[in-house]
Amino acid sequence: MARVVVDVMLKPEILDPQGQAVQRALPRLGFTGISDVRQGKRFELDVEGPVDDAVLARVREMAETFLANTVIEDFTVRVEDGTPAGDARNGAPA
């Protein structure tokens, strides 16, 4: 069983109230030196069978149409070990 991770973050220009709330709280908790915080979602998908290009393409389509709202969010897809699955944020065609 392989795991594919989809990270979904608000686009940089979109307001991120949650990230801002966290950032504003940090100094009060004694944590300094953090100049920005963005909060997004992380999906862990357990895939049956081997993760080949076809599977990744499907996951990317899933991210594009369902897991992320591309009107306001970007996403990345990668196999668990940390290697990005060959695409930059959003862009890559399936």
Binding site: P17, Q18, A21, V22, A25, R28, L29, Q39
Partner: protein, 226 residues
């Protein structure tokens, strides 16, 4: 001498005025407390009200927990001060580790507002002594993250020690483990509830007056303690 019950306003608290009203309707003296102040202004008990403190960003209650007023609340709660956390207040109490467990996203993923039937499972706490064990009450429930979770050991311990205070009746509205709607600490002075008794203190604006007992219970507890 009147009994003073404080209600904390965090940024984003919403049901604070309702909690103050409920204290007044019950016959106590309501005292507004501000999150930035460490002083509790000599109140005899504290209510942490419902709402979306700090927008409920990160996790419900996670940021409010670190406010100055909570330092004092935690310290005095450990020393026996009666503290009632309602909804967001319950979440703050869990985040502060005054109560075990956590509140998570409703299992159906929607905010739910409804008149909820409940059973009083412990009528011995500072906030429930005006009820009888097993009594059925109906008060509003309104939350998006009201599913109570804790590990099995903790749940068993809560059951064994009679620390479940309220249980949902007529269908579990949010996926709470073992239908838990409210719990107390070991000493029985700190109580957390998801339902909103402050919205059931007058028939004009609430479904019942079943919620008043939480506030009158505290007043009695405090008078007895004098």
């Amino acid at each position: 001498m009147t009994t003073r019950i404080g209600v904390v306003t965090f940024p984003g608290s919403l049901d604070d005025t309702d909690a103050l009203r409920a204290v007044r309707v019950a016959g106590g003296e309501p005292v507004a407390l501000w999150h930035r102040e460490t002083s509790l202004r000599q109140v005899d008990a504290v209510v942490l009200p419902g709402g979306f403190s700090y927008g409920d960003y990160l996790r419900c209650g996670a940021i409010a927990r670190f406010s100055p007023v909570m330092e004092t609340v935690v310290e005095q709660a450990r020393a026996g001060l009666p503290v009632l956390g309602i909804c967001n207040g319950f979440q703050v109490l869990c985040e502060s580790h005054l109560l075990p467990g956590a509140l998570t996203r409703n299992d159906h993923l929607h905010f739910v507002c409804r008149d909820q039937r409940l059973a009083v499972a412990n009528a011995g706490t500072a906030w429930t002594r005006d009820y009888t064990e097993g009594q059925e009450i109906t008060v509003p429930l309104k939350n998006g993250e009201g599913g109570y979770v804790a590990d099995e050991r903790t749940l068993d311990m809560l059951e064994a020690e009679g620390r479940v205070v309220l249980r949902y009746l007529g269908g579990n509205p949010n996926g709470s483990r073992r239908d838990i709607a409210g719990i107390t600490n070991e000493a029985g002075n700190v109580v957390g509830l998801m339902p909103h008794p402050e919205h059931a203190v007058e028939t004009l604006t609430g479904p019942t007056t079943d919620g008043l007992g939480f506030f009158t219970s505290a007043l009695k507890t405090l008078v007895d303690a004098r």
